[in-house]
């Protein structure tokens, strides 16, 4: 049984069909990259997996338990096992330390050492007392990553995690993503950066116009043997 499974999920917003019969699986210790052009539905898919939206049909299973239409209480419980970093993360109007410790606080955990450690891992040591809303885009992205990983999520959802970062910082974050997967998280990463997907992913799913058009190992997808040898975008 896969740790996390998306099964024939369809979702529409108004009259627009955002996702159609999307199925994929993610396991702990692995990175699944969802690649596709802008507007293909990558963010919507991550939001559905994070249980921020309810699909029109299909299932989202965490260890075999369908959460798509579970009670809000159960969905909230499942959300506590996951964390998502949005493409353009927003900061709470407080310090960097308070932002990073948010997930810990709402779980009743008061561990300052974890906050310090998480900030160190994203290269923001010493930023604890800074006002988070005054950080640069890249610093916000890294703070958001620290905020997401500090609770040790079993599923980590990353929406274009290095889109706002310079190459050096992006490389640090790439290494961190690999390390988090090695530590046992199921990482699902939406990206349109092929090199990043090829470098980090154990599995790649290609999403075009709301449908998965190809799925497999990076070797298969990027070697020219897969269906998307010539990507349709």
């Amino acid at each position: 049984m896969p740790f996390l499974e998306v099964k024939k999920v369809s979702y529409s917003r108004g009259l627009v069909q955002m996702l159609k019969d999307v199925s994929l699986q993610a396991d702990r210790g692995q990175v699944l990259a969802v690649i596709g052009p802008t507007g293909s539905g990558k963010t919507t898919l991550l939001r559905l997996i994070d249980l921020l939206e309810v699909p029109d049909s299909g299932s989202i299973l965490l260890q075999g338990r369908d959460l798509a239409r579970a009670s809000e209480r159960e969905r909230q419980g499942a959300r506590r096992r996951m964390a998502m970093v949005f493409q353009k993360p927003v900061m709470f109007r407080s310090t960097v330390a308070e932002n990073v410790s948010y997930g810990l606080k709402i779980r009743g955990i008061g561990r300052k050492d974890l906050v310090k450690e998480a900030l160190q891992e994203v290269g923001l040591s010493g930023y604890e007392a800074r006002v988070a809303t005054t950080l640069s885009g890249g610093e916000m992205q890294r703070t958001a990553l620290a905020r997401a990983m500090v609770t040790g999520p079993e599923v980590l959802l990353l929406d274009e995690p290095t889109a706002n970062l310079d190459p050096n910082t992006a490389a640090i974050i790439d290494d961190l993503i690999s390390a988090l997967a090695r530590q046992g998280a199921a990482v699902i990463m939406a990206t349109h950066n092929m090199q990043q997907a090829e470098k980090l992913a154990d599995q790649v799913a290609v999403l075009v116009k709301g449908r998965i058009v190809d799925q497999g190992s990076p070797d298969l997808i990027f070697s020219g043997k897969g269906m998307t040898a010539n990507p349709p975008w």
Binding site: A83, R93, I106
Partner: protein
Amino acid sequence: MDEIWNGFWQALELIVTLNPVVMEITIRSLSISLASVILASLIDIPLGGLIEFREFRGKRALLNLIQTLYSLPTVTVGLLVFLLLSRSGPLGGLNLLFSPAGMALGQTVLITPIMIGLTVSALRGVSPQIRDTARSLGASEWQLIATVIKEARHAVIAAVLLGFGRAISEVGVAMMVGGNIRGHTRVLTTAIALETSKGNLELSIALGIILLSISLLINLALSRFQG
């Protein structure tokens, strides 16, 4: 004109010398309005959060009604609370009529629509991404409401200050529920009305200057929180 100027200078003298009557009325006014705004905050801020965060039938109609009640005449609230607290009324047993506690209760009723309405507006002004972020990090419904209120704290504080401003400057509830009893329920607004009718202009002007100063301070605080 001379009479007004004389009244003005005598009023300043009353304030500067901390005249006991002026001070007593001012302190009572502040205490009653402060009590009402604390009580209203405890009720209205969470209620505003619930209205904003829960989806239910008639939500839009309820918000329209709340906004209509912003301009509720103070004498109407005074009458309503008078009927509630009068001996034959449903809350008559509490013996709150013609008491400072009754006045605070009346002012709470008066400022409740504006405080709920402005809290809802304040929360609506918080980016939806903040809600998503909090939910994504595992916040429960109440933790989410608390987070959004905290994010909107400046606008929520502005709502509280506006509520306080409306409470301290109203006269209908204070007069009808308090009864304007000297040394017991007489507050700035009711004292101004009474002293003016008695021709005691210097005392009226002194109390008016204090009321205006309080309003000015509230406005300064408001611009600080809104700016």
